[in-house]
Amino acid sequence: MAYKKFSIGIVIFLSLSGCVHMVSYYDSLSYKNLTDLKGETKIFFGSCQKSTVNGSNSLSSIDGFILSSAKAYEYEKGKSLNKDTASQLMIIEETLSEIKLRYAKNKYEGDSCSPREQGETQDALTGCLTKGYCIAKWEVLKTAFDIAISTEQLKLEESK
């Protein structure tokens, strides 16, 4: 009896509500934001994995990634039925922000990159990233981008 009432309830609900939407539609701009950012970071980490990166050019590249990811996050946050994707973008933004913090925690001195002494003031302008960190961090970022990109692709299923 309860099952029958439930089934009737579903039918009434569906007939009154039109199409059911539980998740935002596939968005080509969201997809482009993610693939562009993945491509840009791939180039940076490609060179970073070969040799230590330091200096203002590298720092401004990292700032650029953080800015792009912050914009992408705000874009996703503004859409309805999009909490999952917005949460993913927030994690990507935080992961990219960590790179700048790491840059400032290290010090480039005499052609080598090493952690600053305890108590020493952090300074991104004199900072750097080591090859080992870049190898590992790129593995994380690549996986994060692939998850977010494939999530957006899943939404294409809606239109099939």
């Binding site: 039918v11 992961t95 080992g132």
Partner: protein
């Protein structure tokens, strides 16, 4: 190629009380999983510990990277959530179109 035991031997003094077997089992279990994502998480964990053993990462960097791996799990959870919602949406709309709109108007 050295395995987890060798990496842990490099990192830990033999007398240190650490759950080596539990960590090795955890990583092996993940790497042996038939789900691509879980397998990948196991491989990443092993690779990062290896980089630490080789002196290419500091403790602080390893901590950051392990927290990143936990975040990747959260991202995957959101992906699975979207996948489930898309499926539920397709079924609901199929019921609406085929049963409510079509079948019920014919019987």
């Amino acid at each position: 190629m050295a395995g987890m035991s060798e990496f842990l031997d490099t990192l830990l003094d033999g007398s240190v009380d650490f759950a080596r077997d539990e960590l090795k089992n955890l990583i092996n279990e993940a790497k042996g999983d038939n789900r691509v994502f879980i397998k990948h998480i196991g491989e990443l964990t092993e690779e990062f510990i290896k980089l630490r053993a080789l002196g290419q990462l500091t403790n602080d960097e390893l901590r950051e990277l392990m927290e990143d791996v936990i975040d990747l799990n959260k991202m995957q959870f959101h992906k699975l959530s979207v996948q489930a919602k898309v499926r539920a949406e397709r079924i609901s709309n199929g019921i609406k179109s085929l049963v409510v709109d079509s079948l019920l108007s014919l019987i």
